[in-house]
């Protein structure tokens, strides 16, 4: 099942003050697959996600999404291209309710600007109603509907993680980047999350997954890219990767 390539990174380098966080990394993501990026701590996984989503530009190299170079775009432009993400350290908007969080996610799907909003024109009213409905239905999907008017900061941790995914999904992305979605969750929550990720895949969304939980990674990924010291050391299907001596060495140490 070799589907079309949706995202391609070519020779990505990223230096922070002379230190290479990523060194000549190239990889591909195929449409409607789950591609996991794994590697020991400090391997450069989060940096890679930050580069794809435009938080910082690469020092050199190119990122191409659906045939368009996105490596110099600002994050919000990239969101409009159809890439959204979650964060390793939760970045839920604590000053807002659960529903509002998801409604922010619908930003790219709406267009009212300052003047219209100030005056609350009928167009805005219609849009608001639509946004609220879509937000509510997303919350239903994520089993958060009963808490939609809670302040997001009062949600338990696991639900905040789900909320962040719901928010990212609200932007109707073609590509969703999940940065450690199960870190800090217990086994039951992790399994729920795994199901959720597979459900999202079924919706036709391509997923990049950065995760340490190997049960999850091996269980749901289609492809895996392994990074160590900012370099790609392995890639392929979970079985291939699991058997790769370089990977075993990176994780368990010298034999």
């Amino acid at each position: 099942m070799n589907s079309e390539i949706i995202l391609k990174a070519e020779g990505i380098r990223k230096y922070f003050g002379g230190v290479a966080a990523l060194n000549d990394v190239s990889f591909e993501v195929r449409r409607n697959e789950i591609t996991a990026i794994i590697g020991p701590n400090g391997a450069g996984k989060t940096t890679l996600i930050n580069l794809i989503t435009g938080i910082y530009p690469p020092t050199s190299g190119k990122i191409i999404f659906e045939g368009k170079t996105i490596s110099r775009l600002k994050p919000f432009h990239i969101a409009y291209q159809g890439i959204t993400r979650t964060f390793q350290n939760l970045q839920v908007f604590h000053n807002m309710t659960v529903l509002e969080n998801v409604m922010v996610g619908l930003h790219t799907q709406t267009e009212s600007e300052f003047l219209n909003c100030l005056l609350h024109l009928p167009k805005v009213k219609r849009e608001e109603r639509r946004v609220a409905e879509e937000g509510a239905s997303l919350l239903r999907f994520f089993h958060l509907e009963s808490k939609s008017d809670w302040l997001s900061s009062s949600l338990p941790y696991g639900e905040q993680k789900r909320l962040e995914i719901a928010r990212a999904l609200a932007g109707k992305p073609k590509l969703l980047l999940l940065d450690e979605p199960v870190a800090g969750l217990n086994i039951r929550e992790t399994e729920e999350m795994a199901e959720l990720i597979l459900k999202i895949k079924k919706m036709g969304i391509t997923i990049i997954l950065v995760e340490h939980d190997m049960n999850l990674v091996m269980g749901i990924s289609d492809k895996i890219t392994v990074l160590n010291y900012g370099q790609k050391i392995s890639g392929g299907t979970p079985e291939e990767v699991q058997k790769d001596p370089k990977v075993i060495q990176a994780y368990l140490g010298e034999e």
Binding site: T46, N50, I55, F87, N89, Q91
Partner: protein
């Protein structure tokens, strides 16, 4: 007076006033490094330095040198009290809340000073007479030398304190990394307390050495503190070398602006340059970038 003598005069006076800005900026920095806030009570540290000196020296007749150190001690105590009281008691450690707590305190202290000393400016004698000294055609007062000398002294002391003493190093360590500092057995609370006390002392010195020239009143500190804060930001907030550079640059710029361009817009001129610096170097001249982790 030829144009070169004039320029020399502008630079010399600019440097002395700049030295005061630098002192105040250092006070801001020390507390910023320990807590991350802008401490508005710095205004009152400067004010009270002058007023306490006046009280001890002119009202109580205590010798000048003794008065100097007594005033310093008093303000150091005040600084410590502020930290032990409202700052530590604050329910929220959010920076904006702490900053506005210091604004409230500043107002309280200013009101108390007005009540205690009245609204009039009070004079302080120069430390060593008022005989003009001539340097290459430019004229300065002995007090200007005192200002410059004491500022240099304070800077050297701080350099020594922060780089040669264990406590000083511990304070720097705390500013860099609170968690690691506490893992070394350094009490973060005590370091914050110390930083309030120290910046009180430094502010007081600033107030005391400028008072013989400007006289002192219950609200003299405000403008000096405003300029001092500007100097701190100009140099890069938290960077002590930056504070000194920022203070001197601001002082000289003002003086040159007033002397050579227009005395009407000299303050505007100084702040305009400050804005331009910030627009092109958002962390001040010698500041480090604040990295944001995601």
């Amino acid at each position: 007076m030829g144009i070169y003598e004039q320029i020399l005069q502008f630079v010399l006076t600019g440097l002395t006033i700049g030295a005061i800005y630098a002192l105040v900026a250092l006070g801001f920095n020390i507390i910023h490094n320990a807590t991350g806030i802008v401490n508005f009570v710095q205004c009152e540290f400067v004010t009270l330095g002058g007023m306490m000196m006046y009280t001890y020296y002119s009202l109580l007749g205590i010798p000048l040198i003794l008065s100097f150190f007594l005033s310093m001690a008093t303000i150091i105590l005040l600084g410590a009290l502020i930290e032990r009281g409202p700052i530590r008691a604050a329910r929220s450690k959010a920076i904006i809340v702490l900053v506005f707590i210091t604004i409230g305190l500043s107002s309280t202290i200013r009101g108390t000073a007005l009540l205690a000393w009245g609204p009039d400016n009070v004079p302080l004698p120069s430390f060593s007479g008022e005989n003009v000294i001539r340097i290459l055609g430019a004229a300065i007062l002995p007090q200007h030398l005192w200002i410059f000398g004491i500022t240099v002294g304070v800077v050297i002391f701080l350099q020594y304190f922060f780089h040669r003493t264990l406590i000083g190093k511990a304070m720097r360590a705390t500013a860099v990394n609170r968690k690691a500092a506490s893992l070394m057995g350094i009490s973060v609370n005590r370091m914050v307390l110390l930083s309030f006390a120290m910046s009180g002392g430094i502010g007081a010195v600033g107030g005391m050495i400028i008072a013989p020239i400007t006289t002192s009143s219950y609200d003299t500190g405000i403008m000096l503190a405003l300029k001092g804060f500007s100097a701190a930001i100009l140099g890069g907030y938290g960077n002590n070398a930056g504070a000194v550079a920022g203070g001197l640059i601001l002082g000289v710029l003002e003086s040159l602006g007033a002397g050579l361009i227009s005395s009407k817009f000299k303050n505007a001129f100084a702040f305009l340059i400050l804005l331009l610096v910030l627009f092109f170097k958002p962390t001040g001249l010698l500041g480090y970038g604040e990295s944001e982790r995601v």
